[in-house]
Symmetry: C2
Subunit: 494 residues, 2 copies
């Protein structure tokens, strides 16, 4: 492991390679034998579980319940909403048969041609269609509304270029699907859930995000509006970290879902959907980590504190272990997850490097001299600073330190984003500045054509029209000179 | 809902229909548009979530970690273990293409023939193959062992006859997959996890189970031994509720997974796998429920206590609500999930019937007279008994009552099982008694042929060779008269 760490590519040399290596070396995930699909390893999954737990709690606090809908979607369902099928048809895994059999010519096991499905089934790329087909039977009257369901599930999109966590064929996510009696209520819900995502990203992941609206080009297939949270990675590229969609009555119309409103009139139901996925793992890794490995926010770290004994004899180890036991117990009682690593087959130096690579926020080390002096060595992963301090009262100080690290890495990420966010007025300047990465605030005429031209010429897209952008200073589109109400955020992105 | 309840078929009339109706009427699940796949509705999913939470805790307490492996399995992997593919080939959903396109002849969207996969992919019916292909790279030395991974996932088996929860094409489950350096350790692990399942079934589901070994006919495809917990439903039929498999070195050999042991020799790794699924929901429903609807064990009930106000005016409701508020708060602080149903658009009688149908263990009702007298009406769902008692100290008594209900429904199920378990010595008597349902303890000669004959002639199978059966009284097989070491359990089953 210590050797592996030495081999980690530096961010400055090749950011992309650094990321790919880090995911594997820190034991988060690895490529599987199935094209574009990853194996999420226990350490990576433990982080995802912590994310799930917090998100699930936040969803329930905002009135949502969980349910489960089928993995497979009849092809005809997918086709009922025109934009939706247009958006997903090119990346669908299709089930055509339901049985294998022994090859009559003795060449092993083959697909049984007699077991062909009458209608092909698609592995869900997202579940609007199967869910709205179900909602039709759940909704008769305004009294059945709203429906506020969420689903934790796997989905599959046959992407041509994949990267672990950031873009994989199969990924894990949650998808909320809500049904409402009014347009206003649905729009409020879509914004509410975007706020939940932003809150989660900032308070738990320590990732600052910009909330905004997507342009038409970047909208979800089937949505009237897509809201997004956009984060900036250390290389200045944007990472779309969560989206929430106002779907209007599109899916209600496609699946004929009507209700009797309070005025006794038949009306189509209003919808939202919203999701975050294992992609958040990519955002987490790329925002905070450094050339020594992962840096995890304490609020999501599977191990928040590791304690490493430094000893020369079994007696010394015993003595240290006795000293450490009440500290471990007290930290656990405070709700802090702590690991005491007294493994005998690895040296302290190896352990230090390994826990740095794994991003454990706080490391305590105790040796013979510490026992004599009543001290302990404390190392914080975010700054790599270490110092020796009295062991008395260490638990409360560790608790404070964890919060300090959480706040510090958020501030650091925010400062980086601010330093890499610039305002640009001409397209020439834009073309020059976009090469340096970062977010560029520029005026845009609001047309898909202009956005498309910028994308083709610079590989930058509009990440969002920020909610809290300056709406009082209109300007002129940097490309066409046509009027623009507010600046939008351009960036290259993952 | 009150009307729906009236329509519930009685168990004595048609047990099977009673079950199917109850699943739908109690809002647990419904058929989806996809053949054999169900939608798990929020109320049903809330019970499953509680099951997951407890099981997950128990797995972690026994040293296991969660991970995630791909949904899709290359066909060639499935074929590497001969018994395994033989067991699953006939029920595999096969992905053959990865894209749809617009039909050139204008008939909508069709599968793109140019996007045919080189090798077909199977939707996992279980994950031994993809996981053991992964473990090959994780295991080099005895120091890498044991690996104790669990996965929460969906799986798919294309069953011809499906029933909600009991047998569906897609179902949710957990599958543990462990790797060990020795045979003994693997066998211990398989038994340990069976004990975890039994413990969960009895303490949380209040379902008594018999632990035992499967006969060769009923063994998991690829296992050397399958351990099982078998529960008895109210109609006397058995329901296999969880299995744990000792896989020997079968998958290690199929996927070439070797390790250097402590003697520096290269050896194949030993394996187990074990799983429980949403089938447990079926066991839960069928064990305890009655003609009025669900009966849920308090340890898994999403709502443990419901409080219904009975009032004639808004002032009365206000007064009741003020009285109820501190009770709700205190119950919640005690960790009890409680719902105060003050909905204005439903009458108390309707609410009563609805919560009975949904199996809420304890119902409290408060009316004007109760306010005057300082009393509350308490109804327990298991016995449907109700009585009025002082409101003072109700919280502690409710807590005790919940434990009493939990114990009572377990005892009731156990008594039923004991009353329906008989010992039989002749095949003639067996054929007569099996018609009445229940478990039959009989001697068997240990051959698959005899078991097969009994199955064909009576539809009964050997549910298990019980761990705690009488091993000191050998006998003669009821069919062939050949020697038998101990009695086994025969039953018809779900």
């Amino acid at each position: 492991m210590a050797k592996e760490l030495k081999d980690l590519t530096k961010r400055s040399e090749n950011y992309s390679q650094w990321y790919n290596e880090l995911v594997v070396k820190a034991d988060l995930a690895e490529q599987s034998a199935v094209r574009g699909c990853m194996v999420i390893k226990p350490y990576g999954y433990a982080i995802w579980e912590k994310m799930q737990r917090e998100l699930d709690r936040m969803f329930k606090e905002t009135g949502h319940v969980n349910a489960y809908f089928p993995l497979l979607i009849p092809k005809s369902f997918l086709c009922k909403e025109a934009d939706h099928v247009e958006g997903f048809a090119k990346e669908c895994a299709v089930v055509t048969h339901y049985r294998l059999k022994n090859d009559p010519e003795g060449r092993g096991v083959v697909v049984d041609p007699d077991a062909r499905l009458e209608e092909e089934l698609i592995i869900r790329p997202t579940s609007e269609t199967i869910i709205w087909n179900t909602y039709r039977n759940w909704i008769k009257s305004y009294r059945d509304l709203p429906i506020l369901c969420n689903q934790w599930a796997n989905v599959l999109r046959w992407e041509m270029r994949t990267r672990m966590f950031l873009r994989t064929a199969e990924f894990l996510w949650q998808e909320g699907h809500t049904a409402h009696a009014t347009k206003e209520e649905a729009m409020e819900e879509a914004v509410r859930m975007l706020n939940v995502y932003a809150d989660f990203a900032e308070r738990y992941m320590a990732v600052p995000v910009i909330k905004g609206v997507k342009s038409a080009n970047e909208r979800f297939a089937g949505a009237l509006e897509t809201y997004t949270i956009e984060a900036m990675m250390q290389d200045g590229k944007a990472l779309q970290s969560g989206t929430s969609h106002f779907l209007g009555q599109n899916f209600a119309k496609a699946f004929d879902v009507k209700f009797i409103n309070k005025n006794n009139e038949l009306e189509y139901v209003w919808a939202t959907s919203w999701g975050v996925s294992t992609r958040l793992m990519g955002a987490l890794i790329m925002t905070h980590s450094d050339d020594n490995g992962l840096v995890l926010p304490p609020h999501l770290a599977p191990i928040q504190v590791v304690i490493v004994p430094i000893y020369k004899s079994a007696e010394q180890l015993d003595e240290i272990s006795r000293k450490v036991a009440p500290i471990v117990e007290k930290l656990r009682n405070m709700g802090i997850s702590v690991k005491y690593d007294n493994a005998d087959n690895k040296r302290p130096g190896f352990k230090f490097a390994d826990y740095e690579l794994k991003g454990v926020p706080v490391r305590l080390a105790l040796g013979a001299r510490d026992l004599e002096n009543g001290t302990v060595e404390v190392m914080r992963r975010d700054t790599l600073e270490k110092h020796t301090e009295p062991i008395e009262g260490i638990e409360e100080r560790v608790q404070k330190l964890l919060e300090e690290i959480q706040a510090n890495i958020y501030q650091k990420a925010l400062a980086l984003r601010e330093s890499k966010t610039i305002t640009v007025d001409t397209y020439d300047e834009f073309k020059e500045k976009i090469e340096q990465g970062g977010f560029i605030l520029a005026h845009w005429d609001g047309t898909p054509e202009t956005e498309e031209k910028v994308k083709e010429e610079t590989k930058a897209t509009i990440r969002c029209i920020p909610f809290d952008g300056d709406k009082t200073t209109p300007g002129k589109c940097m490309v066409t000179g046509r009027p623009s109400a507010q600046r939008v955020i351009f960036a290259r992105n993952y």
